[in-house]
Symmetry: C3
Subunit: 344 residues, 3 copies
């Protein structure tokens, strides 16, 4: 793909500063960009590299001085970069239908505009919408419903009865609808609680590689519209995650917890079971929620505390042994003073 600087500026509601007819072929990082490339600066940390930058054009926010360079000036350079990159370098997915080497049950209803690669197995009564692609080795158990324009990457699995909305993306080996982890002690060992519920992934959800969303014991586990899970994330049974949440890699949510909208959980963060987390909650990397969390907070640590307090607390941590030693000395001095005063 190729486009002029003006076309790209129009795409991102930005303004051209320089030559509007310049041809742009590719997007490149600021330190690698060559002629024909457009690059961007979203993080001010990288502004220093502008001087040596060889790109034909740069996407910037207003107020940055870049004399002599061809610019697209816009409100959100990162978003503009993403949109331009999509236009220039993301090939359209081709519709190929059901390719020989895929096993599709006769009772399945696969749209003519869907693509199913070899090695896929599509169970009884499955529905697959138009524009959806199943890469090699995807397995859909019986009664699964997949919406339109979804991308299910290689080795992803959706178990019986689970439902995906439109534009859902499953990265390779993401597992939707495996059994929730429920066992009842029966005196001699554990009796398996059947997990007869389902998982619902709403529109525009993305699930990372090797991440797991367990089916509900009863009812459903639900990930709401627009929420994104990174790799190796665990969502236990009967969890509800609200809209537009971000769960970074290796984080996990235990059973029956309900998370509100616009929450962000850092890497390796964990939320215990049966909790309620409000809206706009940000939990730092490795934070751990063991109680309900009210809306509109930035928290870290285990137990959770305001992020700034956590920074101070953990900064003090290395000084603990020294503090303890000092306390002993102070205690001794205190005793000496007390003895001295008693004498007097």
């Amino acid at each position: 793909m190729m486009a002029t600087l003006q076309q790209l500026a129009d795409l991102v509601c930005g303004e051209v500063c320089g030559d509007p007819d310049l041809d742009i072929y590719r997007v490149a990082p600021i330190d690698k960009a060559q002629e024909g490339d457009i690059t961007f600066v979203a993080n001010p940390k990288y502004l220093a590299l502008l001087g040596k930058c060889q790109a034909s054009a740069v996407i910037l926010t207003s107020g940055v001085d870049a004399p002599g360079m061809n610019l697209i000036v816009c409100k959100n350079p990162y978003l503009a970069f993403a949109k331009i990159l999509t236009l220039l370098q993301v090939p359209e997915r081709q519709v190929k239908g059901i390719i020989p080497g895929a096993w599709v049950a006769e009772s399945a209803d696969v749209d003519k505009l869907a693509t199913v690669y070899p090695g896929c197995v599509v169970g009884e009564r499955v529905k697959i919408g138009a524009g959806t692609t199943l890469y090699p080795g995807v397995v859909l158990y019986d009664d699964v419903i997949i919406g339109e324009d979804c991308v299910l990457h290689a080795k992803s699995v959706v178990r019986e009865g689970c439902r995906l909305g439109d534009r859902v993306i499953l990265q390779p080996a993401s597992i939707i609808g495996s059994d929730g982890f429920g066992f009842a002690p029966d005196g001699s060992g554990y009796y398996k609680i059947p997990q007869v519920g389902i998982v619902v992934l709403e529109d525009d959800v993305e699930i990372g590689s090797n991440s797991c969303v367990d089916r509900a014991a009863l009812g459903e586990t639900r990930i709401q519209r627009g929420t994104k899970l990174d790799n190796l994330v665990q969502i236990a049974h009967n969890v509800v995650v609200g809209e537009d949440c971000i769960l970074v890699s290796q984080s996990g949510i235990a059973g029956s917890t309900r998370v509100g909208n616009h929450c962000t959980f850092g890497g390796q963060a964990a939320i215990a079971g049966h909790l309620k987390v409000g809206d706009n909650v940000m939990i730092g990397g490795r934070g751990g929620a063991t109680n309900d969390v009210a809306s509109n907070q930035i928290l870290s640590g285990l137990p959770l505390m305001p992020h700034k307090q956590w920074l101070r607390a953990t900064m003090t941590l290395p000084k603990l042994p020294e503090m303890r030693k000092e306390m002993k000395q102070m205690k001794k001095r205190l005793e000496e003073l007390e003895a001295l005063l008693q004498e007097k």
Copy 2:
């Protein structure tokens, strides 16, 4: 499936309170249950919902007041719920034999009453017992032995020579017998230690999605009868986990550690290598064992400490900066006192 209240009570050794001939069709959560449903209350937290409950019947423990409702009163409502749910809503797995689209080596011995779905690959000399189901895309390397009534979900892998007992469940993409992580520095880099041992999963073991049990370097890695692993759990080479243990999601056990019976490790908990953990040890979420652990303890934290002590310690953590500040003030006051006394 359908059953009368009396039949269900008999199944769980409970007593009917109300109409024994009532027809029950489904199990439902207390806030969703309708006519024809049975529900249960195991957690007293949910007793308050009984008033509005629309279920035809409720499973309760004795001593709960529920006037006018049809009840099954029994010792363990959670276990009773599980058994009734299994009876009413878990369809029997059908025997389908080797379905076209599965590759099974000629030397493999697959019982007539087993089911092998398309996309499965069964290696040389593999044995698969009666009643076992391999969902699509399961791979069994050469010389694997699988017992009876096992369920291997889509994409699970069992590598060469590993052995599964009876009624073992592998959730999707659980990996049994991958190489243990062993390397010897050889001066210029790392030399791979061959991992020629196996993994043994005893009867009634369940392994979660995307969990890994590594094969032994020599000898075997063993998970004993009845132990359950949640999703994304790591078991390193030569580990032995005893009977009826519960390993919650994202926990891990490092190489050569031996864990006793009836242990429970919370989410993201970790056990270092070459340790011995006794029986009936409960380690809280994100707890970390760096030394041997004696039996019959409830522990948390890194380093591990009694759970109650950990609760107190972590509650104090946010106050550390304030404590440090206060200590400095006290020190100053102490110095002033000392000076004052010297003057006198």
Copy 3:
């Protein structure tokens, strides 16, 4: 395989002490070894078992007293064990070509000396080198390049355009080249940043089961020569990991971080994004880097501190509540003293 003690000693540059013509058939752990076996002691902890050892021969370092036993004495018994184990017990991988049941695109270039098992899917223009084995169910997207003598275990996935060097090992279900986790808020939700870069795994890299190495947004994510990843490890987009690093299970590195050579990160350790970590950095289990890390350090904790300091700090942690209590008492005593002195 079988070899004489002398042949084995020659292989590992060691010296025989005892009968050089002794036939050795297998390697076994010290407590299980029988006649015909060779065993080894690398960890002095296990020397006590030598007395009861029934092995025909033992690999030891010099300076250990083992009267009457047949020995190979060498500098590095662990490395010697690994080499002898490889010779005696690791069967050579057979070349089988493209086995029926594999789907290989016509435009793919698969070396005659490679092996592709059933259930594999090899995309357009893929290149696979001599001696490489794809176990069942491997998926290579279009334009992937795989070097010589690689082993790709069942269910591993390499997405479009990614490149593997020679002797790379992918354990089952390791995922190379899934989309990096990048989204730009667009006011109403998140806009997906296309991830159009690739992953490069250099020679002798090994990736564990269910581990993920994400493709770059632009450019490449790179794991350099000889580096080994354990199971369930997360490598985010645009990360560079140097040579001969060891990343233990469930550890993770966030986006755009650069790690030097010869680093070792313990289990569940985490490195935040956009950092630089030097050479020879060892981070203990569950350590967390939130700032750049200079070379040649052994660190632990969150925030990172020298490992010994961390040991002391965490040892003090359980005493925090007691310290706090004591501080309050001291404060009271201080106040009493001050009052007393004011009176005087």
